[in-house]
């Protein structure tokens, strides 16, 4: 059991009527891993998560969680999962501690044990001073932390986090990341969806990029950047602004591995930023501003899933 994958999906499909949300994906998640689903809205991330959480029945394919069948063994699997859903579903009329104790009881824990774990987890997510307060006045970040504490109450083998930091301010996000990182250090297996690239880079050992219900790329953040992007990106802006971009892009052909003209600037994907800049000058181009930066997952993501707005 120890080294068997916690999640195995083979040809997993989810359809809603005519709409195919998940279109035949294969994946494995190993114990202790932090695994991410990255993708634009409607890519099928949440549908996949709901199937893994055993609250949505796959239309086709095989899905095994913790060595059990996701359809047949739903309750037994859910007993060992911790789920942090995209939409908060805390009980607003209960206190912070009551939310945890009530939830712990759903897993069949004794009252004493439920209370012990509630206090311990409130400590962990830094909400002990709010234990007897209501949920309603908590900030978005605090509610998220409480939801994560709630997901930990059954000491789960697998924690599912659906867009854990969406809508939070930077301070709240960083605190949350730090807590999730600690969870991971304790040996928890994390599976999360996100459309924040920095979140994926911060938290995930390995991730898949989903688009249109399919997995379009898979690997560690670093290996994805190596495979689908270049080491560095040169961002050039020109004084003639919006009109000249296409012409400048043509003039930049061959400077890097790929040239990506955007409405307001041109991105040049290169291995060596300084060498590329020298080449730009040699060609007599005169950008109004120049930025050389390291490639990020965002470059990979936009390359793979396109720049068209999906919503």
């Amino acid at each position: 059991m120890a080294d068997q994958p916690l999640i195995v999906a083979r040809g997993l499909v989810k359809r809603f009527g005519d709409f195919t949300a998940v279109d035949g994906i294969d994946l494995e998640v190993a114990p202790g891993e932090a695994f991410g689903f990255l993708g634009p809205n409607g890519a099928g991330k949440s549908s996949t998560m709901r199937m893994i959480g055993c609250v949505s029945v796959p239309t086709a394919g095989e899905l095994r969680i913790l060595g059990m069948d996701a359809v047949r063994d739903g309750p037994r699997i859910r007993a060992r999962l911790g789920v942090c859903p995209q939409l908060d579903n805390l009980d607003p009329d209960l206190t912070v501690r009551e939310n945890l104790v009530t939830y712990a009881r759903y897993f069949g824990l004794s009252r004493a044990e439920s209370r012990r774990r509630a206090d311990e987890l409130l400590e962990f997510v830094q909400l002990s001073d709010r234990a007897n307060g209501k949920v309603e006045p908590l900030s978005g970040g605090m509610k998220r932390r409480l939801t994560i504490a709630r997901a930990m109450v059954n000491e789960p083998d697998l924690v599912l986090l659906d867009e854990p930091t969406t809508g939070l301010d930077p301070q709240a996000r960083h605190l949350l990341w730090e807590r999730l990182f600690r969870l991971k250090q304790r040996g928890a297996t994390l599976v999360l969806t996100t459309h924040y690239m920095d979140e994926a880079e911060q938290l995930c050992d390995r991730l898949v990029v989903m688009d249109g219900g399919r997995i379009v790329a898979e690997g560690s953040p670093r290996s994805l950047i190596e495979t689908y992007s270049t080491a560095e990106v040169v961002e050039l802006r020109f004084p003639d602004g919006l009109e000249g971009v296409a012409g400048h892009a043509a003039a930049l052909a061959g400077v890097g591995k790929r040239v990506d003209p955007l409405p307001d600037r041109v991105l040049v994907y290169v291995d060596d930023g300084d060498a590329a800049l020298a080449e730009v000058q040699r060609r007599g181009l005169e950008p109004s501003s120049v930025l050389v930066r390291r490639s990020t997952l965002e470059d990979v993501f936009l390359h793979l899933t396109g720049r068209t707005l999906v919503d």
Partner: protein, 257 residues
């Protein structure tokens, strides 16, 4: 690895409702206890002074069992409408439960057990008050607790199914106006259904409330109900069983895809 379970999921759901009730009970005391007592005093004693006796007993004693069953009916319906829809739509408490070993049958049973608890407490308090007014005439009077529990499930289960199916609370206005209010007025709570023209009387027979009123009246007055006891109880039981099946199906439809 497997957790040793110290509480059944159904009771864990019940516990959530009780925890919430502990915070909100003051608000419900008026509607579920003070109101029926005021009703009893104003109509039972006030109106009763003019009416005199009905079917051989004083009017107060005659409406006590009706108000009892009617109170159970009101709590059952009232607590199975906005509360249920809200736990799907706004609080999403049922979605939270769904991610745990709690299954939809546990959710429905936990909710119904909570209502039986609420009704039982109310009925017991009400009975104690009524004793002082000399409103109970039979050692069978405590059996009203069982009757009220039964009518609670018989009514709450189908209403819960309804609440779990709809997406807008405006449907509740229809439920209250077209079904609940007529049922409360024409189910033999305030006057014998024999007063009604035949068509309406058939509607009264269809109403689970009338059957509960008949059983309660039999218990507090120590006389035989209109139909055999098993027929009244059986009718309520059918409502309860069908209602639970519908409610479980409605919960499943809402939570599973």
């Amino acid at each position: 690895m497997a957790l040793t379970r110290s509480v059944h999921p159904t009771f864990a759901v019940l516990e959530r409702h009780l925890t919430l009730y502990r915070r909100l009970w003051q608000a419900s005391v008026f509607s579920s206890f003070v109101m029926p007592v005021l009703f009893l005093l104003s109509i039972g004693i006030g109106v009763g002074g003019y009416v005199g006796s009905v079917q051989g007993v004083d009017y107060l004693s005659w409406i006590v069992p009706g108000v009892l069953a009617s109170t159970a009916f009101q709590i059952a319906v009232g607590e199975s409408t906005y509360a249920v829809l809200g736990d799907f739509k706004w609080v999403r408490a049922y979605h939270a439960m769904r991610a745990t070993p709690v299954n939809v049958a546990d959710m429905v049973r936990g909710h119904l057990l909570y209502l039986v608890f609420r009704v039982t407490v109310t009925v017991l308090a009400f009975l104690v008050v009524v004793v002082f007014f000399g409103g109970l005439h039979s050692p069978w009077a405590p059996a009203t607790v069982l009757v009220c529990a039964l009518v609670t499930v018989a009514v709450a289960a189908p209403v819960t199914a309804f609440a779990a199916t709809i997406d807008q609370d405006s449907y509740f206005a229809l439920l209250f106006r077209l079904i609940v209010l007529p049922a409360a007025l024409f189910s033999g709570v305030f006057f014998p259904v024999e007063q009604l023209v035949v068509g309406f009387r058939l509607l009264a027979y269809a109403s689970p409330l009338w059957h509960a009123v008949e059983l309660c009246r039999a218990a507090t007055l120590g006389r035989a109900p209109a139909w055999p006891v098993w027929a009244h109880a059986g009718y309520l039981l059918v409502w309860a069983v069908v209602g639970v099946v519908l409610a479980v199906r409605a919960f499943r439809g809402r939570l599973e895809d």
